[in-house]
Symmetry: C2
Subunit: 341 residues, 2 copies
C-alpha cells in the first residue's frame, strides 16, 4: 500500500500533504501523562516496549497523522553505549562529562546490541499496531548534538565548552564524533531492520557551530550516515534536521544527500524553497508557539505554509517540538486544516 | 581627528580593520572583577559613573581597541522605566512578568530622564577619558529582545511564552514593542547627546522569531529607531545586531537602513558578504569559543575572517560576547594579529 509520507520523501508532490508533528507523542496529551506516571522514570518508559509502543501510537489514534515516530530520546544511544544518563525532573538530562580522547574509550560498542534490543522491540510492536498506509519513523540524534550533551554533561545555553573543545582538541573531538557516527549507523540500521520505514537525524544544536565546524561535525558525519545506510537500504529515505543551520541549509542538503530536510521555525521558508532542489522533501516549519496560541494566528500561519509549499514535495510539520502546555484541541484543528488543504 | 571605526561605518574600507570585542569589558579581566567586587551589585556598578567609566576604559588601556562600548546592560532601559530588575548571582536577570496590555501602563516614561542620568554621566566621563581617535559606542537592546526578558520574567531557553503572546495578543504585544521603541529612541538620543559617537542595537533573541514576526517586531521597530535618530543626528551611524537572523539578514539591513550590522558566529560570512551592500559595514563574526581555545585555531579563524572581508567596510569583532573563562592573553594575541593585518 502506498504511504503518502514516503511518496513525498521520494520527491513526489502529494495532492494533500502528509502531516506529523515533532513530539506528537508527549506531555501535552493526558493519555501520555497517564502512561508516563505508570512507567516511573523516563528511561524505563523508553525501554519498556509495550508502553513505548503505546505512547508512539496514541497521537495517531487521536489525530490520524500520516507517520508515527518511535518514542525514545536521542540520548538513548550514549546510554546504550554505557554512558551514564539520568533525567532529573524539570532539569533535563544529566550525563558524565566527556573531557578527552581517553573518555571515548569508555563508550562500549559491544554492549550496544543488547542495550537497544527493547527499543527495536518497540519498533516491531509499533509497526504491527500501525495501519499500512502510515509510515513509522526511526531516529537518532546527529552525532554533533549527542556529543554536545556528552561534553556539556547535559543541556547548555550556548554549548561554549563543546565548541571550545572542537577548536582546542580537534583530533580528540573528531574521534568522539567518528565513534558516535558509526554507532548511529548501527543503531539506525537496526531500527530499519526492525520495521522503520524511514529514519531521521535530529541535529538540534547544529546551529551553534561556525560554518567550518558545521562542515566538519554536522555535514561530514551526516553524509557518511546517509551514504552507508543508502547502500544497505536503497529504498529507505533519510531525513536530516540540522536545526538553526540558517544560511547553510543548502550546502547541508546538497552534500549529505538526505531525501528530506526539516526546516526550523526561524528559517524563511521562501529562502529554503528557492535554495533546495525540487527533488528534496521539505518538512516544517510551523512555529510551535503558533500551535500553542491557536485560533486565527494558527490558521493564518498554517495556510501560509501550505500555500508556499503547494507545488513541491512537502511534509507538514512544526519547526520544533510541540510545547507541553499546548491544548490537544489546537492539534486537532491543525490536522483538520491540513487535511482540507 | 579621524576615527577608523567611524570611517568603516561610513562605508569606507580601512587599510587595517578597526577592532573591538563584544563584552570586552567584563568578567574575563581581573581588573574588572576587582571593580565589580567594590561596586557590590551589578546595577550599582551600572549606575555609578566613575566605576562604570573605569570598567569601560579598562580593555582599551590593556589592548587598545578602536572603540569602547558603554558599560551597561540592555535591561537598564526597563529598569529606568520603573520595571523591577535584579541580577541573581549565577542565575541572570529576574524581572516581573509582562502579561497584558495593562502592564504596559506600568512602564513610567516620566521617570526615564532622571533614571538614566548616571548612565549619561558614564558616557561623558568615558568620552573624556578616551583618546580622540577611538570611538565610543552607546547601546540599547532591540525592543523585541527587551520585551522577551519582560514577558519571560528573565532569561529563557526558547522564549515560547513571548512568541505565543505575540501570536495570541498581537495588539497588546505590539503596544509593548511600540512603547519600548519610543523609549529606546529617547535613551539612545540622550547617549548621543552625552558623547556617544555611534549607537548599537542588540537584538539578541531576534533569531527565535518566524519571518513574519521578525518583520513585525524586529525590522519595523529598528527601522523606526534608525529613521528618527537619522533625522536628528544625521552623522551618527546606527549598528544593528539581529542575532541568529540567518537568512533574514539581507532584508533586515535593506529595510532598516542601519550603517553597520553585527554578524553572529553561525552565519556564513560569505553569505553575508554576498547579500549585503558594499556600503554597509560588516562587524563580526569570530566564534568566542575560538577565542577561548586560543592557539592555532584562533589564528586560523581570525585569518579567514580578515581575508574574506579585506575588500569591504569591515569592523573586526566576535559573533557573540567574550566568554568569562577566556584568558586575557588570547585577547592580546587576537588584537595583535588584527593589527598586523
Amino acid at each position: 500500500m502506498t504511504k503518502p509520507f514516503l511518496a513525498a520523501l521520494a520527491g513526489q508532490r502529494q495532492p494533500r500533504p502528509p502531516v506529523w508533528l515533532m513530539r506528537q507523542a508527549g506531555r501535552y496529551l493526558p493519555e501520555y501523562r497517564a502512561i508516563r506516571a505508570q512507567a516511573g522514570d523516563f528511561i524505563a518508559l523508553c525501554t519498556t516496549p509495550e508502553l513505548a509502543a503505546e505512547v508512539t501510537l496514541q497521537p495517531i489514534r487521536r489525530f490520524g497523522m500520516d507517520a508515527a515516530i518511535l518514542f525514545s530520546d536521542i540520548l538513548m544511544l550514549p546510554w546504550a553505549l554505557g554512558w551514564g544518563l539520568r533525567f532529573a525532573e524539570g532539569e533535563g538530562p544529566i550525563l558524565p562529562q566527556w573531557n578527552t580522547e581517553a573518555d571515548t574509550a569508555r563508550l562500549d560498542t559491544a554492549r550496544l546490541p543488547d542495550a537497544i534490543a527493547p527499543i527495536l522491540q518497540t519498533v516491531r510492536l509499533t509497526r504491527a499496531g500501525l495501519e499500512p498506509h502510515r509510515a513509522l519513523i526511526g531516529f537518532a540524534g546527529g552525532p554533533f548534538t549527542v556529543a554536545c550533551y556528552m561534553v556539556e554533561g547535559g543541556g547548555s545555553k550556548d554549548h561554549a565548552r563543546t565548541r571550545a573543545l572542537a577548536y582546542q582538541d580537534p583530533i580528540g573531538f573528531r574521534g568522539l564524533i567518528d565513534l558516535l557516527t558509526e554507532a548511529t549507523i548501527t543503531y539506525l540500521a537496526a531500527q530499519i531492520e526492525a520495521g522503520a520505514d524511514t529514519v531521521m537525524l535530529f541535529d538540534s544544536w547544529a546551529g551553534v557551530l561556525s560554518p567550518l565546524l558545521f562542515d566538519e561535525h554536522v555535514i561530514k558525519p551526516t553524509a557518511r550516515i546517509v551514504d552507508v545506510l543508502g547502500r544497505r537500504f536503497p529504498h529507505v529515505p533519510v531525513i536530516g534536521f540540522p536545526r538553526l543551520s540558517g544560511t547553510l541549509i543548502g550546502r547541508y542538503v546538497e552534500v549529505t544527500g538526505v531525501c528530506g530536510v526539516g526546516i526550523d521555525t526561524a528559517t524563511d521558508l521562501r529562502f529554503a524553497i528557492s535554495h533546495l532542489s525540487d527533488l528534496v522533501a521539505i518538512q516544517g516549519n510551523l512555529d510551535p508557539a503558533a500551535l500553542l496560541a491557536g485560533g486565527a494566528a494558527l490558521q493564518r500561519e498554517t495556510a501560509r505554509i501550505l500555500r508556499l509549499c503547494r507545488d513541491r514535495p512537502f511534509i507538514f510539520n512544526l519547526g520544533h517540538g510541540i510545547l507541553p502546555p499546548t491544548p490537544p484541541e489546537h492539534v486537532a484543528a491543525l490536522i483538520e486544516q491540513v487535511r482540507r488543504a
